[in-house]
Symmetry: D2
Subunit: 304 residues, 4 copies
């Protein structure tokens, strides 16, 4: 009943994402080398985990290119700083509809819907310690784009992750996603205790007000580990919220481009600021070795 | 700060729905006449509002046939008992995917995705006092079926309802749907104060635990009117939950087939039981005239 | 995560209390025989537990007379209907202050503050299966009366109850009382799993709004058993609230005198109505044998 | 529905309190000069409000000496830094009981229960911009000490504060205290919008878990201003919690002696750390002029 704030907190840095942010800040890394460098700098600043997407090195457009993931992975594993690698498996579930009078056929421009095995191909190739599993379907952000992850797809992808020995980080964007995550565990697709990321304030998922957040936190099974984040100007506020509620934190350019009003951020700066909040609140920031112990992860050796 | 339970409660009876329940109970009405009769019996038992879908009279399969809606509407308006008519506009947004290795193309069997104007054609024809607006996209129930209502579609449909002078009942199946409902009001698509149905415990939307329910209730704007329901054996429990939280109630065969263990229900019996709970809790069940006053609805005359 | 409503619910009837209600309803029992008769009628109507205070048979004023408790106990144990006996130990902790400019000395009229052993004398004499332990100090209701139960007093009284083998029902009138109840268990004064009554809406303790109620429910240790009640016109609403939240229920004339607007209640009628709500919600009302099994109580034989 | 965190936050420094902390840290100020100096240093570090008790200059024991309050007030008003003065009115309501077998008579050692006018004498003398009003009665901390503020006393003291034109800061140590605060406003004793301090985690009041905190926050009327704090090692965590929930913050040696493990704090250091958390979360720390505007306070001129 006393405040159950986390005493030992890990920070995930979400390095680049798949959003169309690459032209809104020069700091959003595009090439595998830029992504790896930004991740490594974040690790040096205190991130125990780096969560990576890849992009087209030229245009910055989101990419599912396995070679890019390979390069990012190799560069991060070869770095002088230790860090837990977390690769997205969120891509390849995108639907974009026609206009309201003729929603079908799906728009070619934007729709990217592939099979389960293809969605985890880079995970099988790179064997990160963690990969994400977006645990539901919803209208996503402002465009008429649906993030689509059906029960059948989640069962297939989750099963593959479990077989590969890669820990899924379940992304719950609303209360129903968390409910289905528990169902995946109940069904034996995912192992307990699971790891879940509470993704707050992503339109049109769960809003980031504290009543909704606490309802989700109250529904995380006591033996699971959770982290939480929110977007934009509430990113740092959610560092505090997550720690207060007994969770871990995520920051980074995937979710927020700004350090201060008018000042574009670099990933390492966001990690440093998060660490400052955590430590000022009286908790301790832990590193990759302690994260592996907490989550039962096995460190992968660098290639070669 | 004292308990804000509703003192004057209206009951909606959801008469038949679109679920594949027609073979699981002989009481699920199929033909327009059966649906109207069941609705009228529910009204006599105390339902102020009847929420109707239509079905194929032979097979009981869900239908979007405008003639069936016309017949249901005319029969209900011609009945000797007054009741507020609420027609679904939930159909025509169904996606069913291929198996996880080849999710596209969409399955012909099950996918039913039409334009906004077609989705409200029966509403324009029948001009019910209320029609529903499912306010989001999500994995729905056990099959690999996605209930799809994108922002663009909701803006188009909501705008048509506002123009027709039909009050939308916003269906919020998760916290993000309620968020988007507020956005539709902020955008001027829907008028405030709005009417929202909190649909709890529908897999894979918001679970029906009380923490989640209260988070949603706390997020309903104070000037809106809300109702809430849950499914199956928790239907009657949610009658109590909704009243306690300051809302109104919905029961009926769309959401629950059972009166007691082993005893299949008729709609009027579910309404009677709900009324008994409400009255035993110390509140009063109100009728269609008071609902119209509360919600600013105009009674439609029976067809001439 | 699905609604955790109680499936098997016990009803406590709080038969008479110590409030100055005896002149406000002819049904408030005064004499030991009246109290026992009212308790027995409540048991026949479905109460598994009867919670009794005693009063002066003539004036109806609250009393701590051990002989009265003895008579109530004997009569209830000799009845043809089985019921679990719960005696108050709430009396003897009353402070009434002088006016605001001279709060001390305490007023003789109203102050009734005795030692721990005297407060449980009737419990030691009658050995009910349960007795109450008001777990804190607060301004109580409208008069300038303080219900006083200090940590030292609670430790002494709780220890005596544990020694006597009488199960304490912890009365938590606010969130801090529940916190201290856990401390009593942590200190070894009370045994886990404990039994707690969440007393909602008693001025000036916890208000009975659902957010406050859920905060208290979320703070009840998962292995404890809880019940909840509220006062007056919200008594029946809280039957529903308690069941929804996973607890048990209490009704009776101690907390509410009215059956309906303008209709004074008898205890058995309040129990019947509570049972109706519980059953209509789909739960089952259990009897004293099942309560004893659930709470680990040993049935006491009738005297003689 | 988006996170309603406070954008412009004021910090109150609770400089010394009345706890028996003076021998546990050399930084706890005792004499009026020490208290004023510590308050002034806190103001320079960013506190917009200083909340002061006085102590015996020699022993450090809590004191109600009006001359000491006068000196503290004069020194603070004469300082080169502007700050809003908040004096406690919490003393003079202390009861200490005899042992559990003979709780009465009250212990002379510890009991300090005086009339309403005497409790606000220093407020009338010094006319601070704010003074506190502890809004209830409860077991307080570990000793058998009851903090006693009955409805009659609160009505008398609150009325005097209103007459004096001193803004009461209502201290709510549990949910029932907040309820009674609303009653005081409803009764016309206090003016709306009121100012309330949510005092979390003080044994045996409201625990500081987030569910309880949010229940209290949800019960603060929307037009009121609130602040919140917790004790000891959770003091800085509650800086974040209060800002997240839409409130303001309080830190200082009254509530917490430690800066870091093994490092005793000074008041200005705690204020600096709170300011760092607030700013890192993306909010702004405001000063006394903005506080006066927000709360409708009138700046008092220095003496002479």
């Amino acid at each position: 009943m006393p405040l159950t704030m986390t005493q030992e907190v890990f920070i995930t840095c979400a390095v680049t994402g798949s959003g169309s942010t690459q032209d809104r800040s020069p700091h959003v890394p595009r090439s595998p080398q830029q992504i790896a460098d930004s991740a490594i700098a974040a690790a040096k600043a205190g991130a125990a985990i780096v969560h990576c997407h890849v992009r087209d090195p030229e245009t910055g457009a989101p990419s599912r290119n396995v070679d890019h993931y390979r390069e990012v992975t190799d560069r991060i594993r070869a770095a002088e700083v230790d860090v837990v690698l977390n690769l997205t498996a969120g891509m390849g579930g995108d639907l974009v509809f026609g206009d309201p009078e003729s929603p079908l056929p799906l728009r070619e421009d934007g729709t990217d819907m592939i099979g389960a095995r293809a969605r985890v191909a880079h995970v099988a190739e790179c064997l990160p310690e963690i990969c994400t599993l977006d645990c539901g379907t919803m209208n996503f952000a402002e465009a008429d784009y649906v993030m689509t992850n059906t029960p059948g797809m989640l069962t297939a992808m989750g099963g593959m992750m479990t077989e590969l020995g890669v820990k899924p980080e379940i992304e719950a964007f609303d209360t129903g996603h968390l409910w289905y995550a528990k169902q995946l565990v109940a069904n034996g697709v995912l192992k307990a205790p699971a790891l879940v990321q509470l993704c707050m304030g992503v339109p049109w998922g769960a809003p980031n007000d504290l009543n909704t957040f606490m309802a989700m936190v109250n529904n995380v099974p006591p033996d699971w580990t959770f982290s939480a984040f929110s977007l934009g100007r509430t990113q740092m506020a959610y560092v505090a919220a997550a720690v207060l509620a007994g969770g871990h934190v995520r920051v980074g350019l995937e979710d927020n481009l700004w350090l201060d009003k008018g000042v574009l951020a670099e990933n390492w700066q966001l990690v440093e600021r998060a660490a400052s909040i955590i430590e000022n609140m009286g908790a301790r920031v832990i590193g990759p070795a302690e994260v592996r112990e907490t989550l039962g992860l096995v460190k992968r050796a660098p290639a070669g």
